[in-house]
Symmetry: C2
Subunit: 367 residues, 2 copies
DNA sequence: TTGTAAGCGTTATCAG
DNA sequence: CTGATAACGCTTACAA
């Protein structure tokens, strides 16, 4: 796989990585280090001594500058620069019980939708001075529980999930945390706290309607067996029934592993001789796999087979003939979630704790 | 964008999200909550009182069970369960100076390569009982500096970056942290501490060789202006020169925004009448855009135009005619980086601090 | 094997 | 506006 490298190894093409020299005046952070190795980090007390004020005044000067006289504020400022002082968040949190860390957990890091949402959310919090950190739960109850245990310990300022928490035990732990909690990506009746979501059931219904409108009557469903996939399937089934469409085949997977899985699903369907005129994939990755496979098999799209996806994959719009999908504005969801949490953290009276995102049909010709 | 929703709103299709009831016996976490709202979290002292031992014995029973008598260990165990006690990591870190948090920063969350690496790395640390959290730096020095300031404050057990730190000031801060630091995705001569990387310069050279071997002589380069893109370009230029190939055109972008950017780059090249027989894109997203655009324009691949990408995009392998790329085993890199850091954290004497990943040519027919 | 004492660096509280 | 004092909950060092 790789090979060990010793500095000075011959025969390697090293990268001449750019180095950008330090522009700061001497006496900055370096002042914290004596000649004999990294020194102890400066504490509030050190700064206080240097500025000739009390520690608590330093604390105030940094957190509520308005409540400290200009003179002392400046002295503190200077002392902070000289010592390279940085607050110790652990001590701060230990005492105050408050932190400026916001944690977000995604079921899956590889998902474009989740990445878009988290990126937008990160933007909101980082702009507001919070440290936005992310973790993953891998669609696993076990991991999710571990993450929530960690939360219970870390007491972040707020938490967000790209999904809804299903285990009662975990819901209980979260409630007990007593911090703003954001669930997303579904529309349950009883969110733990806050929610920016959309109805997956409705998405499934909408999928049926879109296919029906284009004349498809015998359809297949490909998607995840559990979680939101199951919700979309439920809505899809219901509306198909109402519209007199037949779901000829349902291919359920436990975990979405990649495009090739979508290929395999479609080719299995074809090999089985299922007579379908369209397929709804509850996930863009699967839909793209189907699209590829259909083209490889020479099946004309949407003439012989309509393909409908779900999500917000960048490539869905670009790949010919264009993948028609249902989805939401993921970045918008992330931004909204961030702003709602932020409002709560700022102490604003927030009445609206639940927001519903509109479902968007992006018609690109594959249906 | 969205619409406000009040519980009980009519007309909405709510999701019947699965709820999995709590299987634990009563008296678990709930015991921590009295009738009057969430009670104070149990502390070590509470547990000690209940178990009738000293606080330090509780601490030991939890961290080094072997050093406590079986009797007391059991009493502690029971008391922990009864109170729902969970360690307060802030107090723990404040005193010990050690944390079990590992932080990883990616330049860009949307990158499949980085996601793969982080996911693999997360696996390693989570299995070992660490809390693995991720942040993003958005390819911005400013964000990177902010992240590193946060690090300086948080003192995680270890840190990893999907890249190499360029700002001297930041390198200095990291060194002063005195924790294991992992840089990746390049092969500088002077990493801060540990490194699992590969030579981007060599990747550029290899790209030239791959194109040359297939008979291409007049080529274009499309990629990021800065960072690793620049390194790849440097190697590409050098080897092209040596092999007598001409780089007819270099299209440099500041930031990769999506497939459509690749499309635009190729169509600009074509519109300008540049006579090229191949293009090397230092990024799969751009390469896929080129591939799409070439097909749209009716340019045969690789007959009239060879396209070579860089990265590990899932779709590159699936999209006809298959995108030939150069890349590394991203998940392998992440795993390796995680394991090397873990070895250091376990106190093992680690001699090899630098590991070089092999470059892989994945020939899929687009060159 | 167990416990005592002290303190990590910060902030809440209250007094001046 | 400023400061003294006492914690926050845990772990290190040392003593028994």
């Amino acid at each position: 796989m790789g090979s060990d490298t010793e500095p000075g190894d011959a025969g390697f093409v090293y990268d001449d990585v750019v180095r950008i020299p330090d522009a700061r005046a001497p006496g900055g952070l370096d002042a914290a280090e004596g000649a004999d190795g990294p020194a102890r980090r400066a504490s509030l007390a050190d700064v206080a001594r240097l500025a000739d004020v009390s520690p608590i005044t330093v604390s105030r000067a940094l957190r509520q500058p308005g409540r400290v006289s200009a003179d002392k504020r400046q002295r503190v400022q200077r002392a902070v620069e000289q010592t390279g002082y940085r607050i110790n968040p652990y001590a701060s949190i230990l005492k105050s019980g408050r932190s400026n860390i916001v944690l977000a957990f995604a079921s899956n890091l590889m998902s474009e939708q989740f990445s878009l949402a988290l990126q937008a959310c990160a933007e909101v919090f980082e702009t507001a001075g919070y440290l936005f950190l992310m973790g993953q739960t891998s669609y696993s109850y076990e991991r999710e529980t571990a993450a929530i245990q960690a939360l219970h310990a870390m007491k972040p300022a707020a938490v967000m999930f790209t999904g809804v928490i299903e285990l009662e035990a975990n819901r209980e732990v979260l409630r007990a945390l007593d911090i703003p909690i954001m669930e997303t990506w579904a529309l349950p009746r009883d969110p733990i706290d806050m929610l920016v979501g959309f109805s997956n059931t409705e998405a499934g219904q909408l999928a049926a309607e879109v296919l029906f409108a284009k004349g498809h009557r015998r359809v297949a469903y490909i998607g995840r067996r559990g979680g939101r996939g199951a919700l979309r399937l439920q809505g899809f089934r219901r509306r198909c029934g109402e519209l007199g469409m037949e779901i000829v085949r349902e291919l359920l997977v436990d975990e979405v592993t990649g495009l090739s899985q979508g290929r395999a699903c479609l080719s299995a369907t074809v090999a089985a001789g299922a007579e379908i005129d369209a397929v709804f994939c509850s996930n863009d990755v699967l839909a793209l796999g189907c699209l590829m496979e259909a083209r490889r098999l020479g099946i004309s799209i949407p003439g012989s087979l309509g393909i409908l996806g779900f999500g917000e994959s960048d490539i869905a719009a670009e790949i010919p003939p264009g993948l028609t999908t249902i989805g939401i504005d993921s970045a918008g969801l992330g931004r909204e979630a961030g702003e709602m949490l932020l409002a709560r953290l700022s102490g604003e009276a927030v009445e609206v704790k639940v927001r519903r995102m509109d479902l968007l049909v992006r018609d690109r010709g594959s249906v």
